[in-house]
Assembly symmetry: C2
Homo-oligomer: 402 residues x 2
């Protein structure tokens, strides 16, 4: 049977790709994101699916009349800086392709099916992840969201206005939420679990608890040449000690701790910095471990700060508890699709936000040969993507034809 | 006797000052720098001094006809990011004020006196320090200078064209150089040597050898949550180890080693970086010590890179050998101005560039109560600045009335 997957995939691929790095820069509400949204509308229109943008900027394409008990699938179109092509878009391309598969087979669902593209999942621009699904479910208030700022100082409120979205109306949307009977998100695996198991598709068990913490190191700007070592209050030293403490803190734990982002002020070659800010991304199999890891890193930072005479302040910017997906839904899906293996994940997803909000939710993972993600090198073989599409089609048929 | 110092100082103070930090952002050829240059022309004009801009963008204000054996004084107007008010401008304000002092006293110099403002001393924008004086003396070629790029990707050639400077004409300027009989630069001290000696003004003996090295750490971008610690190639870890190695390398040495500037790619909270670039500023009392310190840091970086599976490349971006100021000139000046104390400095200056080029050169330092420099907190007491002006006036009179 012909699949529409390749045509869908190819049409989305050029949008928002950086020519130098080969990575994607599809940040929320930028030109690249708007072009992805236009692509979504075009794909829906060419399939006769009605599109609506909800109050929070999430896009919905409907097969059947929008209404209760809908079977919803989808993911997100935005990316991290220089991200890969698969994280997010694979779930949306597979969703449209799965609908094509069902129609080719003459399936007539008794429940409405919707494809959703959630806004700003990665949080690359405004610093908070899953903004679209968190607003929808009320886990992020409209008030806090409006005040978020990007690196150029623009608020989300201003940005939404420019994009034609009424920022006064953002926030928990019970109408949109109440229509979702089930949510299934297909996603490229961000690890090598399926490689080790030699299987193309798997089903998620849970999402590790995870969060982001901002570490502000405050020293004193001074001349890099003339200032004696003992006279320095150099926050770069304290930052460096903390980066290494994060590596030590996860040794022997089922946890991750990463400093991937840093800002230095004034960031001049011949000036000791006045301030360094680093962001810690931490995750663990359970909340006790996560809390212990973050506490260890905070204590190491404070101790280094004391000996360096550098101020250290740690601010929690987000915290997501462990998310267990619906066990009955999960096991039913695994049985349906060739007894697919069950895997946990350390990555956050819109599916996790919906599960936390009480929506029966499941996730499918497609094999990633290297495990690399959030990188231009992120990849999945086309045969595995087609297996994912077929699995998703089977799940949608099973859920929507009851 | 009235001094014009305060009026000169106050008129320059607001230009290029950041309202939030209180620091200066007078980067070469920006609006702030152009405004400083306009200020220089205004001050010269109000004193009846002819102004010329040489082929390399350095400004000269002449008391008497431009010609051989001129007694030249001055410094620079540009700043590091969020720099202080004194580093550079104090030397130019004091030069104009010293001319006012001499005129009030009715001094009639037999040799021409010039005030010079060298372009782009700090190198904050294009990454190379002392661009104006290095071009003048041929220590930086026009070809290399034209290709320098700022953070926004603009070349110095493009920037000079916009500023009305013919970039094809930059490079060694024997005509301008041959006129300089003696050069005396007054500068705020960037340390507490004069505080410890309880003296307002000192004379420089030498400038420590110093340089800048770029450390490129190359790893692999990946997901901060899902990538196992052992699967990571995280260049932030190697950078952090190298920052701490720099601190260790100067322990017990008469040396400085600082990482004040870092760029991270892609710099996302939930992405392991693909690359980190850090810049090392290193200085030492002698070249053997400097070379040893840089070699130690390079070796530590390579060792960390090997265990982190991160590529490390070290590139020397600039290197300045030890600079001894003219001993006869130095000792004569010290005797003249109340037996001022002699001090070495770890900071580079245009005076060092001219001394290296064979120009008889001296430097005066004005006391800095905290020693802080390259920071908004940089300061000198007005009484000490007036003592510096008087000392400079005495030196100019002695040199120009022979």
């Amino acid at each position: 049977m012909d699949s529409s997957f390749a045509a869908l995939w190819t049409s989305l691929l050029p949008i928002g790709r950086d020519r130098t790095t080969g990575g994607y820069r599809r940040f929320a509400w930028t030109d690249a994101d708007m072009a992805c949204r236009e692509w979504f509308r075009d794909q829906a229109a060419s399939r006769g699916l009605d599109v609506e943008q909800d109050r929070n900027g999430n896009l919905w394409a409907w097969w059947g009349s929008p209404g209760r008990d809908a079977v919803v699938t989808g993911s997100h179109l935005d990316s991290v800086p220089d991200g890969g092509a698969y994280d997010g878009p694979l779930g949306i391309v597979s969703a449209f392709a799965a609908i094509d598969v069902l129609r080719q087979r003459g399936v007539r669902p008794s429940l409405p099916i919707a494809v959703v593209a959630f806004s700003d999942e990665e949080g690359a621009r405004f610093g908070v992840a899953c903004v679209g699904s968190r607003l929808l479910t009320g886990q992020l208030s409209g008030e806090r969201a409006r005040a978020l700022r990007d690196a150029d100082g623009f608020t989300l409120a201003e940005t939404l206005t420019k994009a034609g979205v009424d920022h006064a109306a953002i926030g928990r949307d019970d109408d949109a939420l109440s229509r979702i009977g089930t949510f299934v998100e297909l996603h490229v695996e961000q690890g090598r679990g399926l490689v080790d198991l030699d299987r193309p598709v798997g089903v998620a068990t849970s999402i590790w608890p995870h969060g982001r913490w901002r570490f502000d190191f405050t020293g004193e700007a001074n001349h890099a040449g003339t200032t004696l070592p003992d006279d320095r209050r150099d926050p770069m030293l304290t930052f460096a000690s903390t980066v290494l403490a994060a590596r030590t803190a996860v040794e022997g734990n089922d946890a991750r701790a990463t400093f991937g982002r840093v800002l230095v002020d004034p960031n001049g070659t011949n000036a000791i910095p006045s301030a360094v800010t680093g962001w810690l991304d931490a995750r663990a199999r359970n909340e006790t471990t996560l809390d212990d890891v973050v506490a260890d890193i905070g204590a190491a930072a404070a101790a280094s700060g004391e000996s360096d005479r550098v101020g250290v302040a740690v601010t929690s910017e987000s915290y997501t508890t462990v998310t267990d997906f619906d066990p009955a839904l999960r096991d039913g899906i695994a049985t349906l699709i060739d007894h697919a293996p069950l895997l946990p994940t350390a990555a956050g997803h819109d599916a996790g936000i919906l599960a936390t909000a009480g929506v029966p939710t499941a996730m499918l993972f497609v094999r990633n040969p290297t495990g690399v993600s959030h990188s231009p090198a992120e990849h999945a073989e086309e045969a595995d993507c087609l297996a994912g599409t077929d699995a998703l089609a089977a799940v949608l048929a099973d859920l929507a034809c009851r």
